[in-house]
Amino acid sequence: MKPILSVRDLTAVFALRGGLETRAVDGVSLDLFPGETLALVGESGSGKTTLALSLLRLIPDPPGRIDSASRIEFDGTDVLRLDAGALRRIRGGGMAMIFQEAGSSLNPVMTVGAQIAETVRVHTGLGRRAARGRARDLLADVGLSDPERLDQYPHQLSGGMQQRVMIAMALAGAPRVLIADEPTTALDVTIQLQVLDLLADLQQRLGLALLLITHDLGVAARIASRVAVMYAGRIVESAPAARVFGGPQHPYTEALLQAVPRLDRPAGRLPAIPGQPPRASEWPAGCRFHPRCRHAWARCREQEPALLSADADHAARCWLLAEPERRAQ
């Protein structure tokens, strides 16, 4: 099967004061296949949101720009070389995006029905009446079948319902890729579960490819088929979800799974990761995780490993894959 979205060597550069530059996303490659959910997991500053925004060319330029060696291919189209009109059609029509704070992405002075209908009209050219009908159907698709919702304003809806409206709006252009950036982070757990169920259901029903960006390993475990872990602007591990959670190969992934408080393990002292994630302006030399890694040796400080294969569909950016005897016990 061919990927619907293919990214090669994506680098997003931001200008800093004093003529310096920082590579918030640094040479990232990934493939997203129709009907799969790929979770991009990372802590703050790892570059996961910048990566998501870059896919739709939404990073503010200046100060940001996408390096010219980067390639983003959506369904065979070179996204980075599209003119403004074609880019507009891809945004929402090919790839749509939803964000963490649904409330602040919605227009507060327009009813949700009118907002969705407007998006429908932009993408389909339907007339007013037909667009309103489509808006009603879309709201029903996201579990808001009560017809009075159409005439409500965003502030009359709860956070969970606002996120459902955002999803309905994202679906208005019948996209094939849905990018969801922390879609449930602002929600309570019981509502979070409802929204994750909805995303999984829509993905099945519509055959969407879902790129889920999250800091929460538990959220990724709930619906992802594959997981890519980001650290310091790089993907450091990538594999089917069960492999990442069950047999992590990168020491960062392993340490993260140990450090997170979990309901499925005995309570007790948490094996925390020393130090803190580096800033984009000061990525460490060598392996970017080496200052916090309990396995690190001289090679890790000097030379950055490539993504090395553990097996056919599991890769990690770690020298331990080349020298497994170095793994500390």
Binding site: E43, S44, S158, G160, M161, D188, V189, T190, I191, Q192, L193, Q194, D197, H215, D216, L217, G218, V219, A220, A221, R222, A224, A241, A242, F245, G246, A255, L256, L257, A259, V260, P261, R262, L263, D264, A267, G268, R269, L270, P271, A272, I273, P274, Q276, P277, R292
Partner: protein, 327 residues
């Protein structure tokens, strides 16, 4: 006063009035609806609940950062809610609060050293070089480099700022800390460090904690007992291991089932709650949880009669008509 009931909260109630619509009736949110509980000396009592459950209001009323409308708070035998301003200030030395977002609770124009010296001076604990020495010791105790003394809050990372928040709370040598979502703004790798720090400080200083969090796994790591709140009330209260292993209230069971666990193969009960918590302005009659309750025995009684929080088994309290059968 016994060591078992070192801090006692009794029928604590707090209402927030809402803006009144033109000619409309006065309306109020009952954020805290007659909550009673006790904390033993040296214990960590965890409070979990979703937004609007009243857990933050409970924490603030317990140290009188908010004035409750009704109820009592006793701390080591002292009635906290009737203290005058002077006596309350003395009492504040003994009970302090750590907030979720230290960026909001630290003055951005004050260096860390000055921010920590302030409470030490206000409470007349130390002055001059002695105060400085004390602050440097505090920084060390929370795992910060002495160089942090001259930094501004924005020059620190989120984890470092939270350590400053903890140091400030400790600066007056309190015995009781209310920790309100102390790690929810932090990355996993940093949050784990802060949770370990809180555990160490408790051991070293014999502190008593009221730990408020939405994340059940975080609470489980520190708490001896856990209270689950829903719409301003405690619906279950039990020793942590019992509550997590065998919840008596269907809401607790649903929260546990919904909590994310980083293991796709984990066997999880498939409990789904429909809808959202009802409005605290007009809570439903009967059991406030009944509109969302998935309990198979749910009956008309649940829609009419409010279940009381009662000791279903020794040390296990629940407010569900069917708790006895669940146990």
């Amino acid at each position: 006063m016994t060591a078992q009931r070192w801090i006692e909260v009794e029928r604590l109630t707090k209402r927030f009035s809402l803006p009144r619509a033109l000619l409309g009736p006065r309306r109020a949110v009952v954020a805290l609806d007659g909550v009673s509980l006790a904390i033993a000396r040296g214990e960590t009592l965890g409070v979990v609940g979703e937004s609007g459950s009243g857990k933050t209001t409970l924490g603030r009323c317990a140290v009188r950062l908010l004035e409750p409308d009704d109820g009592r708070v006793r701390f080591d035998g002292v009635e906290v809610l009737t203290l005058d301003a002077t006596a309350l200030r003395r009492m504040r030395r003994r009970m302090q609060m750590v907030f979720q977002d230290p960026a909001l609770s630290l003055n951005p124009r004050l260096r860390v050293g000055a921010a920590l010296r302030e409470p030490i001076a206000v409470h007349g604990i130390a002055r001059g070089p002695r105060a400085r020495r004390r602050v440097v010791e505090l920084l060390g105790e929370v795992g910060l480099d002495p160089a942090a003394y001259d930094r501004y809050p924005h020059q620190l990372s989120g984890g470092q700022r939270q350590r400053v928040g903890i140091a400030r709370a400790l600066s007056v040598e309190p015995e009781f800390l209310v920790l309100d979502e102390p790690v929810s703004n932090l990355d996993v790798s940093v949050g784990a460090q802060v949770l370990n720090l809180l555990a160490d400080l408790q051991t070293r200083r014999g502190l008593t904690y009221l730990l408020i969090a939405h994340d059940l796994a975080v609470v489980r790591h520190l708490a001896n007992r856990v209270a689950v709140m829903y719409l301003g009330r405690v619906v279950e209260l039990a020793p942590a291991e019992t509550l997590y292993g065998q919840p008596l209230h269907p809401y607790t069971a649903a929260l546990l089932a919904a909590a994310p666990v980083p293991d796709p193969g984990a066997a999880r009960p498939r409990i789904r709650l429909a809808g959202e918590p009802p409005s605290a302005v007009s809570p439903p009659p009967g059991c406030p949880f009944h509109p969302r309750c998935p309990h198979p025995k749910k009956s008309e009684r649940c829609t009419m009669e409010r279940p009381v929080l009662r000791e279903v088994e020794p040390a296990r309290w629940a407010a569900c008509h069917f708790a006895e059968q669940t146990a």
